[in-house]
Amino acid sequence: MKKILPVEELARDSRFVRVQIQEAMMDPRQMKVAERNTGSAKLEPERPAAPDRARQLMHGIFMGELQALEGAGRTTFDFDDEDVPFQLKLDMARQSWDESRHCEISVKLAEHMGTEIGEFSEATFLYEAACAEDALLRLTGVNRALEGLAIDVFNTMKLFGDNSGDPVLAACEDWMLADEVTHVKMGSDWLRRLTENDPERRERALEFQRTVDKLFSLGGFRGETDENPIQLARKFRQMAGFSTDEIDELSEVTVEAQAEAEAAATAEQRAS
């Protein structure tokens, strides 16, 4: 069986249509919307179009869970015992099991909200971050960056469930959130153990994580202000092994990502 499966070979049926995340971010309509005073961007029932915002985000969560399952599964398989400790592979296998349950829960939640699988397009940047040839980069890219994003998204969605009085959504998101904290903690613990005597390697891995974190901030989709639909979940990140300095740094990365996306969109608009 092939090792390091490229993103083009992920198994998808005809319901799924792929899109480049840059394409969506550079949509000229996004700039037009940004010029309007639409109030806080936080996902709340009182926000304009809240039901469809929540449905689209839930579909995005399902796609993220599917790719997280594929990423963790590949890490279990792609590395031999001489490459990584067997215990690490066991952790990845356990994570794959968790992610497969999350996929099933996300499908049920999407149905609960009236969404069909494949109703919205799929961006594959999450899986792409899980294709590094170095297992350590997978731990930072997938467990700490991707699963960290999952913490932020699940916390946002859980709060939406709480605020809208939806007991099904709130309970399911809370349950999955608990797993995500464990997944991030696995990444944090293995990063420390594998680089205990190699600070340079640790720094390279963390640099990779910063790059992925900026990508996952999606040009301001995630952050800590009212302009960000997905809020950085500080408390849960601390529970998952992030230090306060690391969270502060991530917060700065989200601000940078938003500024860069706005500058790129402005340049694009001028050019057209």
Partner: protein
């Protein structure tokens, strides 16, 4: 002069065709029973992408005035492209609501003044009727919207079924149904009104 006017006549940000939309609206207006002498004006705000869906339906000086965000007709899988089955449903819902305003809903406030709960209830009734026309409908999606604004309760679910399957509600009856749901809803009062609308998302002039 054509009965249906679509604004804008040319779209620049989305791949929509005003003539196609006018043709669909003309066909559906007859199906929903909107009188032939009622002119229809459809304004589409093409700057609003998915997921910023939203629409309004009012009758002003005898003319049906419908407003849609561009997202309401957009294909979720192919950015900025027209999804005809979805557009047919959304148009039918608002045409039904415009027709309602000429009949038992003459006392209803204009759309901008409806509460989210009233708006969700009225749309549930209109989409139920759209289903009986044979158009594509998304009942669970509509029920989710209804629950979001009328409560995740048994009373709300029973009310939704009545609205979905019924044909002849009046504005007074719809208000009463929303009041029943509110009485059974343990949630606190919403902080503000939501549902996307042209007044709250209008582009700066």
């Amino acid at each position: 002069m054509a009965r249906v006017e679509v604004v804008p006549e040319q779209f620049t940000l989305v791949e929509y065709n005003a003539g196609v939309i006018a043709g669909i609206a003309e066909e559906l207006a007859s199906k929903v029973g909107l009188p032939d002498d009622v002119p229809i004006r459809i304004e589409i705000d093409e700057e609003l992408p998915l997921p910023l869906t939203g629409s309004t339906a009012d009758v002003v000086d005898g003319r049906a005035e419908l407003w849609f965000s561009g997202a309401s007709f957009e294909d979720g899988r192919h950015r900025a492209t027209f999804n005809e089955p979805v557009a047919r449903t959304e148009l039918a819902i608002e045409l039904f609501r415009a027709r309602d305003r000429l009949e038992g809903f003459a006392d209803a406030p204009v759309d901008e003044q409806l509460t989210d709960a009233q708006r969700a209830a009225w749309a549930a009734s209109a989409e139920g009727r759209t289903a009986r026309l044979g158009e594509l409908t998304r009942k669970v999606r509509r029920q989710y919207v209804f629950r979001l604004y009328n409560g995740f309760t048994d009373v709300a679910d029973q009310t939704f079924e009545r609205l979905w399957t019924g044909d002849n509600f009046s504005w007074a009856e719809l208000e009463a149904l929303c009041a029943e749901c509110k009485a059974a809803d343990p949630r606190p009062e919403p902080k503000q009104k939501s549902a996307i609308r042209k007044e709250s998302l209008r582009a700066p002039s």
